[in-house]
């Protein structure tokens, strides 16, 4: 049987306050990433700092704006898997290029 409850809104509805708070957090993190870039951190750390903040912002958007926090876990799994496969693509390509004796001429 399909109950009335199942039929109507069992989906999460975010409050205006939550949506605005997430927006404010994203504004703050944008300011933070600009400020951190002005610190002129030495080479790998500047990229790491920028990426950590970017992943934090992306996480906020995915969890609250895209509702993965309340959603079926399957959708979150799809998202995480896409990131893992992307890491595999970038990682293996980087390894290939790094361990070549010399730069490919056309590069």
């Amino acid at each position: 049987m399909i109950t009335e409850q199942e039929h109507s809104h069992s989906h999460h509805i975010s409050s205006v306050k939550l949506l605005l708070s997430v927006g404010a957090a994203l504004f703050f993190l944008t300011a933070l990433t600009v400020l951190v870039s002005d610190l002129h951190l030495p080479s790998p750390y500047n990229v790491i700092a920028a990426l950590v903040i970017a992943f934090g912002k992306a996480g906020l958007v995915a969890a609250f704006f895209m509702e993965l926090y309340w959603d079926k876990r399957f959708n979150a799994m799809l998202f995480v898997m896409s990131i893992l496969f992307l890491a595999l693509l970038i990682g293996l390509t980087v390894v290939d290029v790094l361990f070549r004796p010399e730069i490919i001429p056309s590069f």
Partner: protein
């Protein structure tokens, strides 16, 4: 037999192959997420290329990034985040059954997207006037590096592909406004708003990565 009568009595917006509205929305969302996965891997190829070239020519990326205006990049990031907030508010308004507010928020989103594209246009226009074109059309001599065109090829490809996504998103918002005006978006059926929202937020996420990777290199 009572069960089958219940199933056939469901609302007009539920397609006959779904059990109920909830299942229909869940299926639509899952389908959209599968599409977003392909989008991530689509942009992913460009991110992989970017990674390789930044690894091979780290000093080039530092030199060339100076030509990008950090202030306008930051403004555009804030504009796009604000547009994500308005889309999220549009979805909420649809869920609680306030179609007028849905339209207001969607119009605001289109305006913010237009501001983003206008700033992007002036950034590109400025570079073109300096002779900074992608690939072999590059004719700017302000950067002391023979590979300078490579940085800008990535810049134009990645921000350009992202820009096309913003334009598509604006078109989808117009479609949603028309649908809402026709009364087709209700608190019982707001799937198109929710699905378009997922797309728009992903476009926002991609920009969240493009911004520090191009504008904030020191």
């Amino acid at each position: 037999m009572a069960q089958s009568t219940t199933v056939t009595q469901h609302d007009s917006h539920v397609q006959h192959h779904f059990v109920n509205a909830n299942q229909q929305l869940d299926s639509a969302k899952m389908g959209m997420w599968v599409f977003l996965v392909t989008e991530i891997l689509f942009f992913g190829g460009l991110f992989a290329g970017y990674t390789i070239y930044r690894m091979l020519y780290p000093e080039l990326f530092v030199q060339a990034s100076i030509e990008l205006d950090k202030v306008w990049g930051t403004v555009n990031t804030l504009v796009l985040i604000a547009s994500s907030v308005t889309v999220a508010l549009a979805i909420r308004s649809a869920q609680v059954g306030k179609p007028k507010r849905v339209i207001t928020y969607l119009v605001t989103t289109i305006i913010l997207a237009a501001v983003f594209m206008t700033i992007k246009y002036f950034e590109w226009e400025h570079k073109f006037s300096l002779g900074i074109y992608p690939g072999k059309f590059y004719s700017f001599d302000g950067i002391d590096n023979p590979k300078a065109h490579i940085f800008f090829s990535f810049y134009y490809l990645m921000t350009g592909l992202h820009g096309i996504h913003v334009l598509v998103g604006m078109g989808l918002m117009v479609w949603l406004i028309i649908k809402t005006k026709k009364g087709e978006i209700t608190s019982d059926y707001y799937n198109p708003v929710e699905i378009t929202g997922l797309y728009w937020h992903l476009v926002d996420i991609i920009w969240i990565f493009l911004f520090p990777l191009f504008y904030l290199i020191k």
